[in-house]
Amino acid sequence: MSEPPQLAKPVTIAVRDVWKSYDGQPVLRGVRLEVLAGETLVIIGGSGEGKSVLIRQIIGLETPDHGEIRLNDSTVAEYRRLPMEEKPFRASMVFQTSALLNSLTVAENVSLALREHRSATREEIRGIVRECLEQVDLAGTEDKMPAELSGGMRKRVAIARALAVRSDLILYDEPTAELDPLLTEEVGALIRRIQDRRRPTQVVVTHNLPLAREIADHVAVLRHGEIVDYRTGDDFFHSEHPHTRNFLRAARVV
C-alpha cells in the first residue's frame, strides 16, 4: 500500500494596499486580499486588468511601489532573501508560457531546483521525477525535449516542476491560456487533484470561468487594478455585483 501524501505546510497570503505603476500608469490601485491556508483562490479579470502583475508581486518577481504582501509572518522580500534550505515553506509559480528550459529534457526541467540546490540524491531525484510525472499523467516522457510536447503537456510539466519541490504555495498565471476546452478541463482536474491530495495554498489567475467553477474555493474579481468582488466559489456565479454580472453574461455562464 502506498504512503498517504504528506500535507502541505499552511501558508496564508495577506495583500495590503498594494500599488504598482509602469511608466506612471497605475496597474494595481490599492489591492487588498486575504488567501487562507490550503485554499484555492481564483483571481478573475479581463485582459490588462493587472492579474499577472499581482501574482508577480506575490511571488516576489517584482516589488510593489506601495503597500506590502505577507506570506505567513514574513514579507515577500524577507521570504525571498532566505536561502532555499532556510525557507519555512516552498513557493512555486506556473507561468503562462510554461517557462520550461528548452535546452533541458522533461526530467531535467522537473528536477532542476532539486539538482541545483542539491536537496536530494540522484536516486531520490529519479524517484521524485517519476512520481511527479505520474501525477500529471506524463509518465514515460522523461527524455523528451520541451519542443516535442504539446501546449497542454508543457503546462503539465510546469506543474510537475512545482510539485517536485513539494510546494506549499503554488501560483498559476493563466494555466489554461491557449488550450482547447478538453485540455482546459484536464488542467482544471489536475489542479483540483493537487488540492485534494496535499492541500497547498493555490492562487490561480485566469479569465476562464469554467476553470474557476471547477477549482475555486474563493473568487476575487480584479478590475482596473482593484478587487471589486470577492466571494466563495459557489456564490460567485450568483453574484449581484454589476461588473461580475457583466463578466458572467459575456462568458455566457448566466
Binding site: 536561502p83 525557507k87 507561468f95 503562462q96 517557462a99 528550459l101 528548452n102 541545483e116 516542476r161 519541490v165
Partner: protein, 279 residues
C-alpha cells in the same frame, strides 16, 4: 516674414532636441556600461563555485570551439596569405626578407587576437545573447528566480569561463594557421623572391615569447568582454522576438567596439612593460 519667424523658431528648437538626444544616448551608454561592470563583478564572484558547474562550462567550451574552429581556420589562413601578398608587393623595391617577421608579429600580436575576438563575438556572443534573450522573453529566467536559482552562476558564469578560456586557445590556433597561410604563399607565389626557410628564419629571429603572450592576454580579455557584453544584452532583452533580434545585434556591435578599445589599452600597457627594442 512669417516664414522667417517659423524658421527662426525651428532653429531655436533644434539645439535642445539634439542636446536631449545626445544626453539620452550618453545616459543609455553609461547605463549599459554600468550593467556590464556589475554583471562582470557578480560573475567573477561566482567563479568560486565553478567546480559545481563544471559540466556546463565544458559544454559551453565545446560549443564555442565547434562554432568557431572551421571559420577561424579559413579566415586566419586567408589573412596570412593576403598579408604576404600585399607586403611582398610593397617591399618588392626594398627587401622581402622581412616578410617572416612582419607576418609573425602581425598575426600573434594583433590580427590573431582581434580576428578571433570578432569571430567569437559574431558566432558565440550572438548565440549567447539570443539564447539568454529568448529565456528572458519567455519567462524562463523568471522561472529560475522563483526556484531560487541565481541566473548569474547558472547562465552567465559558465559562458564567461568558457569564452575566457577558449579565446586564448583560438588565438594560438589562428596564429599558427595564419603563419601557415603566409608560408604557403611564399612557397607557391613566383613573384616572391625569398625562400620558405628565409621566411621562417626571419620569423623565428624576430618573434619572441612576449609577443605571443601579449596576444594570449588580449584573447583572455576579449573573451571576458564578449561573454559579459553578450550576457548583459541577453538579460536586458524585452519586447518579444523583435527584442531578441535587437539584443543580438547590439551585443555583436558592442563587442566589436569593446574589443577595439581594449586592444588599444592593452597595447599601450604592454609597451610600458615591454618597450619595443631594435634588434
Amino acid at each position: 516674414m512669417a516664414q522667417a519667424t517659423d524658421s527662426a523658431r525651428s532653429s531655436l528648437r533644434a539645439p535642445p532636441g539634439v542636446v536631449a538626444a545626445l544626453g539620452r544616448g550618453t545616459l543609455d551608454v553609461l547605463q549599459i556600461v554600468g550593467e556590464c561592470v556589475s554583471l562582470l563583478a557578480a560573475t567573477v564572484w561566482h567563479c568560486r563555485s565553478a567546480g559545481r558547474h563544471l559540466p556546463k562550462i565544458v559544454t559551453q567550451l565545446l560549443l564555442v570551439g565547434s562554432e568557431t574552429l572551421g571559420i577561424a581556420a579559413l579566415v586566419s589562413l586567408f589573412v596570412g596569405m593576403v598579408m604576404v601578398v600585399q607586403a611582398a608587393d610593397q617591399l618588392a623595391n626594398y627587401t622581402q626578407e622581412v616578410l617572416g617577421s612582419l607576418v609573425g608579429l602581425a598575426m600573434t600580436k594583433e590580427l590573431g587576437p582581434v580576428i578571433m575576438g570578432f569571430i567569437v563575438a559574431g558566432k558565440s556572443g550572438s548565440a549567447v545573447a539570443a539564447e539568454i534573450g529568448s529565456m528572458k522573453v519567455y519567462e524562463e529566467i523568471s522561472a529560475l528566480r522563483t526556484m531560487d536559482i541565481d541566473p548569474v552562476p547558472f547562465l552567465s558564469m559558465p559562458r564567461f569561463l568558457a569564452m575566457t578560456l577558449a579565446l586564448p586557445m583560438l588565438v594560438l590556433y589562428s596564429d599558427v594557421i595564419g603563419i601557415l597561410g603566409g608560408t604557403l604563399v611564399v612557397a607557391l607565389d613566383p613573384t616572391i623572391s625569398i625562400s620558405v626557410s628565409q621566411f621562417l628564419d626571419n620569423l623565428t629571429e624576430w618573434l619572441n615569447l612576449t609577443d605571443v603572450l601579449v596576444g594570449l592576454v588580449k584573447g583572455l580579455v576579449f573573451g571576458m568582454l564578449v561573454s559579459i557584453v553578450a550576457c548583459t544584452f541577453g538579460f536586458r532583452t524585452s519586447g518579444g522576438a523583435e527584442g531578441v533580434a535587437r539584443a543580438t545585434t547590439s551585443a555583436v556591435v558592442w563587442s566589436f567596439v569593446a574589443i577595439i578599445i581594449a586592444d588599444f589599452v592593452i597595447v599601450r600597457v604592454a609597451f610600458l612593460f615591454f618597450p619595443a627594442t631594435p634588434k
